[in-house]
């Protein structure tokens, strides 16, 4: 599982089942003219070796949730509350600076959307990977560089030595995203959070990167959180799906159940509106209206203004979470 010639001096502990545990997370940003409620009581968990997809549209709170989990939001202005927020058992709500720096990159690493802006343009790729390794482990520069080269080979870069000495602007988006993944893996994290890792990439490159992430996750036994707006990415990569909308979790289920038998009207409408599922030019099933404004969310269920099945109660009261299957739950009055 580790490239030949590499050794990681600190074997990571295995055994704790729950890698991510988030309960009742709220994230808000006070503004001059009100409060933007980005996340309004989201809960989910990721177990060891499991891949969980968080799917949602812009403003659903999916990215903010991940940023909050790693405490990457500036506080203030951000306000984060939760009943629990742990990564590999470490309480992230109470973590001090030192703990945070130890968790980030080592316990949980992150891959971001736009690889073109994710690297510091003033340093080579190699320097940035070496820096990551040396931030967490006491190894010599030469040793770290050898490891970095091995990591680049691991993410299927054919000329790791050349990429190591390249500046970010000299590489293509696909190559940079591979390097970003290599950097994320450099300290053998237990959790990999990928926030729209392929959205900025071309179709063929997207498929390659998804396959790479999935393969590495299986091989290294990491927990994977795949944040995306694209149901196709979900279908290709994850075991379990968390559907977010308007800062809330609408539905959660194993991936097959989501695609075969979604319970929540929003998930079903989203599936139905996907273009290109059948051949021939045709009108699509559309969802009327647009996503809620996080500065002024609708009362009750955030989806009710666009929901074909909503009634008076949906507009007033947030529906309870209903267990819909062995590992499935959904928040809808229709299911109660």
């Amino acid at each position: 599982m580790i490239p030949a010639g590499l050794s990681f001096p600190f074997p990571q502990k295995r055994g704790d089942m729950r890698l991510v545990e988030i309960t009742d997370l709220t994230v808000s940003f006070p503004q001059a003219d009100g409060i933007v409620q980005a996340v309004r009581g989201a809960s989910f968990h990721v177990d060891e070796g499991e891949s969980v997809g968080i799917v949602g549209e812009s403003g659903s709170g999916k990215s903010v949730t991940c940023m909050a989990a790693l405490r990457l939001l500036r506080q203030p202005p951000a306000r984060i509350t939760a009943t629990t927020m742990t990564l590999d058992g470490i309480n992230m709500l109470a973590a001090d600076r030192k703990t945070l720096a130890g968790v980030r990159g080592r316990v949980a690493a992150m891959v971001f959307q736009d690889p073109m802006t994710a690297f510091d343009p003033a340093y080579t790729i190699g320097a940035q990977i070496v820096e990551t390794i040396r931030a967490h482990r006491e190894v010599s520069k030469a040793e770290a560089r050898r490891e970095a080269e091995g990591l680049l080979a691991k993410v299927e870069i054919r000329t790791p030595g050349a990429v190591l000495d390249s500046y970010p602007h000299q590489l293509s988006g696909g190559m940079l995203q591979r390097a970003m993944i290599a950097m994320a893996l450099s300290c053998q994290p237990r959790i990999l959070i990928a926030d729209e890792p392929t959205t900025a990439l071309d179709v063929t490159v997207q498929a390659q990167i998804l396959q790479l992430i999935k393969g590495l996750q299986d091989e290294l036994g990491m927990g994977l959180v795949m944040v995306t707006h694209d149901l196709g990415v979900i279908a290709e990569t994850v075991d379990r799906v968390v559907v977010m909308y308007g800062g809330r979790v609408m539905e959660e289920a194993p991936v097959a159940a989501i695609f075969d038998d979604a319970k929540h009207p929003y998930t079903r409408a989203l599936m139905a509106s996907m273009p290109g599922q059948v051949g021939g030019r045709r009108r699509l099933t559309e969802i009327p209206g647009s996503s809620p404004n996080p500065a002024d969310p609708p009362g009750g269920c955030p989806f009710h203004p666009r929901c074909g099945e909503a009634d008076a109660r949906c507009a007033v009261e947030m529906p309870p979470v209903v267990v819909t299957g062995e590992a499935s739950r959904a928040a809808c009055w229709r299911l109660t």
């Binding site: 196709g232 509106s273 290109g276 009108r283």
Partner: protein, 314 residues
Amino acid sequence: MTAPALELRGLTKDFLLPGSGWWGKPRTVHAVRAVDLVLPRNAIVGLVGESGSGKTTTGMVALRLSEPTGGQILLDGTDITTLDSVALKPFRRKLQVVFQDSYSALDPMLTLAQIVAEPLHIHGIGTAKEQAEQARHWLERVGLHASYANRYPHELSGGQRQRVAIARALILKPTVLIADEPTSALDVSVKAQIINLLQDLQAEMGLSILFISHDLSVVRSLTDTVAVMFNGRIVEQAPTEAIFTDARHPYTRSLLDAVPVMNPRDRRHRTFQTRAELEAATPRLSAAALGLAPDATARLVRVGADHLVEAILT
């Protein structure tokens, strides 16, 4: 026989890039290389490809927003390639565009009614009152209630802004609409709305749309014909379903293969070809079987009724 709504003949566009490094020489990039494309009347043609394929440049040159290096642009059978800005103005009415990022394309200081009426104003069509009325009519036609007339772009969601951009493009009743990734920045739940709107308006107005996109799923639901661009060339062109079920060019096949499958039970391991491998994989067809003369240079060859593939004839 009437002329097609828009026809590109041997369209070519080179860019000169400044050299890099201390002693760098300027270099030429062949963004679009001898593209032939017909946009028939009353049809939607998809132009698909990845970044750097030349699809956006093709659109910009066809709009005369960028000057071609070579080739011809025919609008309604008239060659508009070399018309100056005065002579071009009446043709601009017939050739309109919608971009991906409608926020930067809408003047933030104008109300939606003013934005939509602006083309009428520029072309001096109707009185101020008639223009305002038309604008309101078009706002409603693209699904925005008349009460939106006095709002400003920043008050709208992405989908609503794209509706405004479409209304502004269509108020002059053009024959051709070039839509460059108009749904790419939109939320999944809103994308379908805009796709439906474009289909409805196309059918009602008998419009011809050149739909430039990297999103094969959208292209499948929206277009009648698809042209696939790779390295500045069209490598395959066919009726949409033929592209999706019977692709002949290796690049088209690699594109289709990369599209995520919307069924978690159909997950599979993919093998990928490098760009160089795809460039070298130009199909070889038997000239004799097609009744054509052998040709060692790759060119578009007709392999079915409306199915063209770039190939070498042996």
